[in-house]
Point group: none
Chain length 215, copies 4
DNA sequence: TCGTAAGCGAGACGGTACGTCTAGTCTTTCA
DNA sequence: TGAAAGACTAGACGTACCGTCTCGCTTACGA
């Protein structure tokens, strides 16, 4: 954040209020859902005046983006020893995150708002989406060290295209399975999905030949 | 509606009102977005009283589901002559549908509402999601006829699992790319994605060996 | 007035709500005073929604004008048998009205608002001020019948000028004594004032010669 | 500035701030009216912190009393040579004062507040009302010197009663005519009013016999 | 053919939440 | 150490919709 050299006259903003507001937003989101989440209720729970809230966030959606962004940062990718294990791991931990009520409600709601709000779209990408790509980058680097994937292409743009694609496929599939198809993302599904991702449709359509998909 | 044996006394409901309401819902959705779409505004645009609207739909989300469901029925899968062509075709036509403002706004918004509303979730699946699976089933059957994919497994549940998986991967990837990553789904992306889907991560990561991904 | 030929579509306004609001306004005014009288509190006391209130009155001051106007209509002028008795009677009953907390508070407050609001000024004159002139007209007519005052001038404008003057002098003196000088308007003051009004400053300054000022 | 030995750690802007605040109060009062006059706005216009303002005046009404009190001190009563001329003079100059927007707005507003605030009532009397009685006393003394009025009664309380009465009648009539009846106080009205005051209702009702009321 | 039951428009109703504004108070930093 | 700047709590403001409820029609069926 390269130096905020403004001497900031007047009383500084309360960091405690910031924290209380974000906490209150998350708990309220779980209890009442997105559409009944009101700025007034968040303020009440945080023990803060509405003006304090509006001084920091102009709209409910921006507040919620910031409140849930931190949850996505909890995602990690422990080394499973193989590309397959790493993919299954990230699928399962992402699915676990999406099972939490505040996460799934908030994510879809702010995405819905963002379809007609360019600024919100940028904020979501910066606070949530782009930060998850590190998982794909990490897993890919590990697999390359293990020799499971070829090294990066000479063209950095080509590499970025592939990383983006893999990210969209994994995240998209998990989100669609969880929230649209409304089916559980369990070990069996993760295994089948990983097979499809690694080996393609031909192999996934006849998995019997190779390994069993179920646990 | 299979036998509505109630003699339906009194003045019958106006079919014209139904049509006007759904049309007004779609155009209003484009113009003002989900969160500013109000029942009163829909009624005003449809030239209808609010009571008439509430007599048919209990909530904004149900109305919107019905209003946009018909758009998804427009999706078709012309025979492209090969599995690869069919996949690329469905990806591009689904992406085109999601570029329409009313579709993307409505889809994400009702999905967001549905995270805390089981009845709405069922309605969305019935009116929108499940009807798209036919595209996967059609494409798969064609590919099997062409010999590009092995015939159905003996276990129908296994077949359903695979179809659901493919559906989640294709739809999820396109939705995520379009609405979350906010990047265009063009021919190049469709080609690379299809390669990944058909041949797996190993091939997609080094596509140079086989065919060029761009058009 | 005279015929409301509009067919009055939609649900008609509730007369009960009107009454409840005006009653609530008066009692709230007594209890909390003008500056702490809020539209929300009036609505709460009247058991009515704020919107119902704003549908009828655009501002607190207009509501209060209507609420207290009826109190001024209670003023009457019983025939005291002489001009002197009639003047003293109207002075004392007007003073009694101004002793009521809701009256004095409301009157001064709306007059203050009206100094920067032409519409409010008109409303006050129509609802409150002009209706009191009947007291002057009645008293004057009686005195003329008794021979205590000469008959009307041939010029109606001249008559109106005199009536307005007498009205301003009586009402102004009572209001100023009550609310500005903050002294009681009792029988003694009423008698002295009436002497001044009837006979002029010379007589009032030396009342000992004539009659005693006290009751 | 070499010889400015003031260490002045304390309050270097105190007197300037006072003046700036009172000036800002008056100009703001003219521009926005009483009910939209806010402490914050006065502070902003005066270039002063809100704290500085609250350190000196506890409430808006007290501030306004002090801000407009000085305007009332401008009233003077030049000797017109006769009681009639003096009365007409004071009526006209008081009316001119009440034509100024800040005066009339402020006067009625603080009087309205004072109906539920004893301390404010005292402050108004001390700062505004009582200081005007000197005009009545002066005029009366002059008239007595000229022989137009009898000398003071032996009883000082009786004298005070008469002075108060005259004050209430003159000030009340002018205020009522100006702010309640909302009619101009011009030379004609002043003449008619003075006739009534000096000679009583009988004469005023038939002024044709004596002198013409118009200018 | 006529009654009657439901649908229709309009719009008022009691509510909830909005986002803004103001009142006063409470820290900061500057001079 | 007082004044400016401005963040703080508290709560009213007037507006927008909500979903429900009269109203006075209109429309179609069935007796």
């Amino acid at each position: 954040m390269a130096g905020c050299p403004a001497p900031r006259r007047g009383r500084p903003r309360s960091a405690a209020a910031d924290r209380a507001i974000l906490d209150a937003t998350r708990t309220a989101l779980v209890e009442v859902g997105w559409s009944k989440l009101t700025m007034g209720e968040v303020a009440r729970r945080a023990g803060v005046a509405k003006t304090t809230l509006y001084r920091r966030w102009a709209a409910k959606s921006e507040l919620v983006v910031d409140a849930v962004a931190v949850l996505f940062d909890e995602l990690e990718l422990p080394d499973g020893g193989s590309l397959r294990a790493d993919v299954e791991g990230v699928v399962l931990s992402f699915a676990a995150l999406l099972r939490r009520p505040e996460t799934k409600t908030a994510l879809m709601a702010v995405l819905a708002e963002s379809t007609t709000d360019e600024a919100l779209r940028r904020r979501i990408r910066a606070a949530i989406v782009d930060r998850q790509k590190r998982l794909v980058l990490d897993g890919r680097a590990r697999a390359q060290r293990r020799g499971e994937l070829p090294p990066d292409s000479a063209d950095p743009a080509e590499t970025e295209r592939v990383v983006d694609l893999i990210f969209d496929v994994i995240a998209g599939a998990v989100v669609h399975r969880s929230l649209v198809s409304d089916c559980p993302v369990d070990g069996a599904w993760a295994a089948t999905f990983t097979t499809l991702l690694l080996d393609g449709l031909g192999s996934a359509s006849a998995p019997r030949a190779g390994e069993p998909p179920g646990p």
